[in-house]
């Protein structure tokens, strides 16, 4: 039914989105927690940097990542020095790009959720002998459940649809860095509209179902 290069693009996309989402939930928790709690004057600048991918054209982001992660870029020299090699044109490189690109989509729902919790439940837990880590797992996590669901869904869906960054950073290598969105673009550019429609339609349907599930299962998520 589905051509093998389509299948590998779909698998690769799901893999990329899953890995990216898991990493983002960890990093996003740390950043969002800090942003939600800090009174530091760095809160504004850090928040703005996190939100930058919302406004930067993805190809611009991809271009600068390509340069930064490349052999002459600072990060590229670092990854080479520690024996990781270069990240562009690899799956790991795509993950790095996607993490940066989708960061605001994970940080913002988490930050909202953390802010909505407020200080009180944490203080109450502290007076009930709960250590900071204990508080995080027994109070923050369950209370921010809907925020985490939103963050995971948005992070996953946004990574799936990402195009500009992977296009720049990936090098369009079948099975390695050619994800669905790039595949669709290839079809469109090659005037293979039927294949493009099939993939795009599938992706549209998938994204719709995921978002629909989020909004139906998690009515409180919208409010927070």
């Amino acid at each position: 039914m589905i051509a093998s290069d389509e299948r590998s693009a779909i698998l690769l996309t799901l893999q990329l989105s899953a890995v990216t989402t898991v990493i983002l939930l960890v990093i996003g928790t740390i950043i969002a927690w800090w942003l939600a709690r800090t009174r530091s004057r760095w809160k504004g600048p850090v928040g703005a940097v996190v939100a930058l991918p919302l406004v930067l054209p993805p190809t611009v982001l991809g271009f600068y990542l390509l340069i930064t992660l490349g052999p002459n870029g600072p990060v590229g020299q670092f990854t080479q020095a520690i024996g990781l090699g270069l990240l562009p044109f690899t799956f790991a490189g795509l993950v790095v790009g996607s993490v940066i690109y989708s960061l605001p989509f994970v940080v913002q729902p988490l930050q909202n959720a953390f802010e909505a919790i407020g200080e009180r439940p944490l203080e109450a837990a502290a007076t009930l002998r709960s250590s900071p880590l204990d508080r995080f797992f027994t109070v923050v996590l369950p209370m921010a459940k809907s925020g985490y669901l939103s963050a995971a869904v948005l992070g996953f869906a946004h990574t799936m649809g990402e195009f500009g960054v992977v296009l720049m950073l990936g090098g369009n290598i079948p099975g390695k860095t050619r994800v669905i969105s790039v595949q669709i673009y290839n079809h469109v550019e090659a005037l293979e509209y039927a294949q493009a429609h099939r993939l795009a339609g599938g992706m549209l349907l998938f994204s719709f179902l995921v978002l629909l599930a989020m909004y139906t299962l998690n009515p409180t998520g919208r409010r927070s």
Binding site: F63, L167, G171, V182, E189
Partner: protein
């Protein structure tokens, strides 16, 4: 005193309306690889004719989709020969208006000196991790690169090292940023006044691949527009030709002449 801004606005509006009504402009879709020479040509054209060329740059595939869906372009300067041909067949362009305005030159290039020799022998050694080329399915330069490798019998050997840019600009960025050690780019991207700007390069002989003909065509919205006809004529003239040559394109193919 109050009347001044009003006068200014009115005259601006009249000016804009005049431009639209009198058809003093020509809307041109330009393949992105031809961006720099076309800007220079358009400036010359405006001086010579008094018409204004409004340029849009993009990929030929996207332009095709846009033109098919009613984009108001009057002229297409394509990156290939196939798209104008197809547009003509589809009836979206004026039959008989097609001509080759430039022929691209393919080059194997590295931003470092001493990497690429003047025979392209480096390709056979395989002493590199990545070779960049434009996606052969989408970009004429990519197709020409694969044809070259086919001619050299290296395609199978090098395919695992391919990294593909969506277009020749991205391919150039892959190489110039050092992420790919070398790659097939357009000679026009790396030359200035006929000479290599930096690094090392091998201009691929045109015998190794089919010619990179870039054709122009008059689209249906440009029919009977003096400005459009005037630009097409200007493109064929000597002034434009010398600009095209200076940007590293040639004008005719061996078999096309």
């Amino acid at each position: 005193m109050r009347i001044k801004p009003f006068l200014f606005l009115t005259s601006m509006l009249m000016f804009l309306a005049q431009g639209a009504v009198c058809g003093e402009e020509v809307q041109v879709a330009v393949a992105s690889n031809f961006t720099a020479p076309m800007k220079a040509i358009a400036a010359d054209f405006e001086k010579a004719s008094g018409y204004k060329a409004v340029l849009a740059f993009g990929s030929t595939g996207s332009f095709y989709a846009q033109i098919k869906n009613g984009a108001p372009f009057e002229i297409l300067l394509s990156a290939d020969a196939e798209t104008p041909e197809k547009l003509e067949k589809d009836g979206s362009a004026e039959a008989g208006s097609r001509f080759t305005y430039a022929v691209g030159k393919l080059a194997l290039w590295s931003p470092k000196t001493g990497v690429v020799d003047d025979k392209g022998a480096v390709l056979g050694t395989g002493t590199f991790a990545h070779v960049a080329l434009a996606a052969p399915k989408l970009a004429p330069y990519g197709k020409a690169a694969v044809e070259t490798l086919d001619s050299l019998g290296l395609t199978q050997k090098l395919e695992p090292k391919f990294v593909q840019g969506e277009n020749i600009t991205q391919t150039f960025q892959f190489v110039s940023s050092g992420n790919a050690e070398l790659g097939f780019v357009a000679w026009s991207q790396i030359c200035a006044n006929g000479k290599l700007k930096s690094g090392s390069a091998w201009v691929v002989p045109e015998t190794l691949h089919r010619p990179l003909r870039q054709d122009a065509i008059l689209l249906t919205p440009g029919k009977n527009k003096p400005a459009a006809a005037s630009l097409l004529a200007f493109l064929k003239g000597d002034q434009a030709k010398s600009v095209i040559l200076s940007y590293g394109y040639s004008l005719q193919t061996k078999e096309g002449s």
